[in-house]
């Protein structure tokens, strides 16, 4: 009996959602009075085990093989899935990165376990996991219970609190052998086309500054970018801005784009169609800047500014610069 976390790494770095998931795994294990253990699959990733331990994992299963160097769905699912079948943990968690959302269903099918996606809250009731998640564009909340012995859940990034790591801990590593199979070679990651902007990833960002139709032209996004960079924020966009070709698809927040939950979401010139709200309404704080006082975005905003964004945003940037300069 234990709580397991599949620690998601890419290119030898633990993903931020993995740290949140380890923290939540620790919390659930304490509540159940059981151990928290982690699995990491990859190649030459032994060095990450101590970091995993620092978030409270009492044991780290290490599956290291060159076939696992890059994300390979069939190989990862077999490696981790068979270990789960063997060890029978009670709960298996993974962060909702694009890897987590892709891999967990495969593992759940392999193991034959119930899986809850996109969870924003996990509870233990009578010793069993209860997962809570939004559905239908955020319009309802669903409570999910399990009938399988192994209970699996994917955690929405940026929602669960990350613990302070205890760096004094060293990992108790158990190396798990990996035997390649025919299926593994049917798929290969041949290239990673980096679109790094130097800004944080939308789904992981603490702060997001998003622009919409009100930006009027692609070049005006410089205003949004400047403010974002000052705040260390990610840049997002509404569907209107993406469909107009002003921003890349990867920037889109909302139903056909990404679901985000930053600490602060600043919506600039975004009216707030239901499809957009579905992707950002779980943000902790929302600031909206829009000249239309009736824009629906104001219904979800904690702080709404009715005004011309082309005046308000530059002034705001100036003010923040002043504050940052004082803090020096």
């Amino acid at each position: 009996m234990s709580v397991w976390v599949i620690a998601d790494q890419r290119k030898g770095t633990l993903r931020k959602p993995a740290l949140e998931t380890l923290s939540e795994g620790r919390r659930l294990a304490d509540q159940l009075g059981t151990s928290m253990e982690a699995v990491i699959a990859g190649h030459n990733v032994e060095g990450l085990c101590n970091e995993i331990a620092s978030y409270g994992a009492e044991k780290v299963y290490l599956i290291d093989h060159e076939i696992l160097a890059n994300y390979n769905p069939p190989a990862y699912a077999r490696a981790v899935g068979d270990l789960i079948k063997d060890k029978q943990p009670q709960i298996v968690l993974m962060g909702g990165t694009m890897t987590g959302r892709d891999l967990m269903p495969r593992i759940a099918a392999r193991v034959g376990a119930g899986l809850a996606p996109d969870c924003i809250k996990l509870e233990i009731v009578d010793g069993k996991l209860k997962a809570i998640r939004p559905a239908i564009a955020g319009k309802v909340r669903v409570e999910i219970g399990y009938k399988s012995d192994i209970q699996m859940a994917i955690l929405r990034p940026n929602v669960f609190e990350r613990l302070e790591p205890d760096t004094s801990k060293t990992a108790n590593i158990e190396k798990v052998p990996f035997e390649p199979s025919d299926l593994d070679t049917k798929q290969r990651l041949v290239e990673f086309v980096s679109k790094e902007t130097g800004r944080p990833e939308l789904t992981e960002a603490e702060i997001i500054v998003s622009g919409g139709r009100g930006m009027k032209a692609p070049e005006n996004f410089a205003l949004v970018e400047e403010l974002a960079d000052l705040l260390g924020a990610a840049v997002g966009a509404s569907r209107a801005a993406v469909d107009a070709g002003w921003r890349p698809q990867s920037d889109q927040v909302g139903q056909t784009g990404k679901t985000v939950s930053p600490n602060l979401y600043i919506a600039v010139g975004i009216s707030g169609a239901i499809q957009h709200l579905a992707g950002m309404s779980s943000s902790k704080f929302i600031v909206a800047i829009n000249k239309d006082p009736d824009a629906p975005i104001f219904n979800v905003a904690d702080f709404g500014v009715v005004g011309d964004l082309f005046k308000v945003v530059p002034l705001l940037t100036e003010e923040i610069k002043k504050i940052k300069a004082q803090e020096g």
Partner: protein
């Protein structure tokens, strides 16, 4: 009695509704300002088969029914009233009579490209001296061997600029009054044919309204539609069906304005609450919705009667009379709900208001509809 669309009718409605929301609505204001329907819209309508909704498949159409057609016109008009009348005038006033009265050769030659939307059609009856009184048209057609020679000027011709096939009405025998009128299919490149001035209008500004000039315009004799002297009856056939299209257009305009009003009422806050909370606004919205639904049922019934091959001219007249009045009332009230905002170009309701007016005029004024209806119910 079943008040339900068939699966195909519903799919068509859903598709055109989406098309209107995604392609027409975002461009309607700009097209209104520039006075044209953008070429990519024509192309899209053609690719989707919207220029030949109820034309049988063997003539290049979609092989659907008149109810689907009318629904298409409503949904297009909800996005852009000019686009609605483009399809309606094309279909009801030219495609339909060729389908009905055309020879097999005429169908192959003219109906085919029209139904596929490769060519656009315009209906040319109205003249400076002949509006509702169509029998007083001055355009003449004279037989000359294998040809007819047309002389005269038409004006207020919808689709006049974009069309390449015109259904032109002319007197072949002035003495015989309405029995001396004939209908001709004229192609744009006919010698002696030219397009005159374009009108600047109150509404449906993206739809072209042109003057057509015929100066010894020579057309092949086989372009006579129906028989000599049948023109008046063909025209009446056109307008009976066209009224269904205009009624559907009027409902589309009203629906668009109504939706704007509801949206505005729900979000506009005055005295600390959305104005939709006020009974004065609620009553307006309730009346609008009721009128629209009644007008829609009327045009749908007329369309259904036409599809079933039953007499429908009385219903189509009633539908047009009522729907155009509803369009005027609803668009006026929609502006009222918007208050001062509604009077500005920032909001689309001012365009809907301007677009609505023509539905009381073209293809038979409201006064003419009342005459038709009254004569029908008093006869025999």
């Amino acid at each position: 009695m079943r008040f339900e669309f068939t699966e195909e009718q519903r799919m068509v409605r859903d598709m055109v509704r989406r098309l209107a929301d995604e392609e027409l609505k975002p461009r309607a204001a700009e097209m209104d300002k520039k006075g044209e329907i953008f070429p990519e819209i024509y192309q899209q309508l053609a690719e989707l088969g919207l220029f030949g909704v109820y034309v049988p498949e063997e003539y290049g159409g979609a092989g659907m029914d008149v109810v689907s057609y009318a629904t298409v016109v409503e949904e297009l008009s909800r996005g852009c009233a000019s686009t609605g009348i483009l399809v309606s005038a094309h279909t009801s006033l030219v495609v339909d009579p060729i389908l009905h009265y055309g020879t097999e050769e005429q169908k192959q030659k003219f109906l085919m490209p029209l139904a596929k939307g490769e060519k656009i059609a315009a209906h040319a009856m109205t003249e400076p001296g002949a509006g509702t009184d169509v029998v007083s048209i001055a355009t003449t057609a004279k037989r000359d061997g294998d040809h007819y020679i047309l002389n005269g000027t038409k004006h207020f011709i919808t689709n006049g600029k974009e069309a390449s096939i015109y259904l032109v009405f002319a007197m072949t025998d002035k003495e015989k009054r309405h029995k001396g009128m004939s209908a001709f299919i004229v192609e744009k490149d006919a010698p002696g044919f030219s397009i005159g001035k374009l009108e600047h209008k109150l509404g449906i500004r993206a739809s072209s309204t042109a003057e057509l000039i015929f100066e010894n315009c020579r057309i092949p004799a086989e372009n006579l539609l129906g028989e000599e002297g049948q023109g008046f009856y063909i025209a009446m056939h056109c307008y009976d069906g066209g009224r269904i299209g205009v009624a559907a257009q009027a409902v589309g305009i009203a629906q668009a304005a109504y939706e704007e009003a509801v949206e505005f009422a729900k979000t506009r806050v005055q005295f600390g609450q959305p104005i939709a909370n006020f009974q004065a606004i609620q009553f307006k919205l309730a009346d609008m919705a009721t009128m629209i639904e009644a007008a829609r049922l009327l045009y749908l019934k007329a369309a259904w009667l036409k599809q079933e091959g039953k007499p429908y001219y009385q219903l189509s007249a009633m539908a047009k009379l009522f729907a155009s009045d509803v369009a005027m009332r609803v668009t006026r009230e929609a502006i009222q709900v918007h208050g001062g905002y509604g009077f500005t170009e920032e909001y689309p309701v001012e365009r809907h208001y301007r677009d609505a007016k023509i539905t009381e005029i073209y293809e038979g004024t409201s006064e003419a509809q009342r005459l038709t209806i009254a004569r029908n119910l008093l006869k025999g």
